[in-house]
Subunit: 213 residues, 2 copies
């Protein structure tokens, strides 16, 4: 499967590309126009430059021929220059609109735990929660994409364990590697279609969690 | 009609309260918890303190008994402290959710010209356009409120003329007084229900424009 990873130079996106390679998918590294691409070129991985500040019609050109999109881009909490609004919200929604224009129906979204529960939105992440909430809502209610929204807890840099849990009431953390592995596995799991999935480190295999959705 | 004006101390909101009084409606001045209220108290106008950073359930308490809501609040372009996200987007949507909780079905929204056309979004207002776009979209697609979205061009402080036009392709300005008069007239016009209305100064009466929607 040809999978465009938006935000491939990001902390999760980079691991998603690795994971796609390791399971035999064909990743396309989606990066910003101003980002370095040597890392990908050296390894003969296709690169697609995408400007999330551009219009959906322009973004769609970079999506043609992809079978699926994994959205792992983020402003990195740069709220000062409005990037939370322009990237985490509008950039995400424009990517969804672009996917529909380009005819790419499968869309995996990297979100955050508790985006749909305002009672859980705490400073300093509150603006990011707002952006993620409306982006997730758009994906579910305002597109016809076959979505999967993955909502991990606090992200760690620990090594992946392959052991997770999906409990809507639990709080906790999970490694970026396990999030990446889960997103790629979700791409191939029919049960994950049109699901919003909270995700923490746990004691079940990723396959078992996907099977029980 | 008892009409809660959210943002009554704002430049448009203040004029909306005046206009409601002049047509015989009963305004309730919705202001922030930290704002002065002497101006309203001195004139025996009811005041409701609303914190748009609070939860919808809390906001709903301040809406009980109102027949309609006119939303004229705004962050004033304070993007630096994330108020565009927290007030212009999430504060607006929470007000809609609160209206539904409180059983107030009529909701008039002060928006901006061209919010639904990204090609028209220009700096430095781009973040505000993003916020307004998603707030308007929520009102239309994610509530059952009987909405009217008023989308004025550039706001001036000129005196009201009572002469306007609604042309989706035109660019221009309009006085805050005419916007306020239009919003109050829209409240009483069945033709304005579930409509999104671009608004500029022009040569038609407000009644004629509403009649021809």
């Amino acid at each position: 499967m040809r999978v465009l990873v938006i935000g491939a130079n990001g902390e999760v996106g980079h691991l998603v590309v690795q994971q796609l390679l390791s399971v035999g998918d064909e990743p396309i590294a989606g990066i910003r126009p101003d980002e370095p691409d040597e890392d990908w070129r050296d390894r003969e991985i296709a690169v697609e430059r995408l400007n999330l500040l551009a219009k959906p019609e322009r973004l769609a050109q970079g999506m043609l021929g992809a079978d699926a999109i994994i959205f792992a881009a983020g402003s990195g909490g740069r709220t000062k220059d409005d990037m939370t609004l322009l990237i985490d919200l509008d950039g995400a929604v424009k990517s969804m609109q672009a996917a529909e224009i380009a005819g790419v129906r499968r869309f995996i979204m990297l979100s955050m735990l508790f985006t749909e529960d305002r009672n859980r939105w705490a400073d300093p992440l509150k603006p990011l929660y707002v952006a993620k909430f409306y982006a997730d809502d758009w994906l579910v209610h305002r597109t016809h994409l076959i979505y999967t929204i993955v909502q991990p807890g606090a992200l760690s840099f620990h090594a992946g364990t392959g052991r997770v849990k999906s409990d809507p009431l639990a709080v906790g953390s999970i490694s970026r590697a396990d999030v990446a592995a889960f997103m790629v596995a979700a791409l191939h799991a029919p049960q994950a279609r049109r699901k919003t999935i909270p995700l923490l480190s746990g004691d079940q295999s990723i396959a078992a969690v996907l099977q029980n959705l």
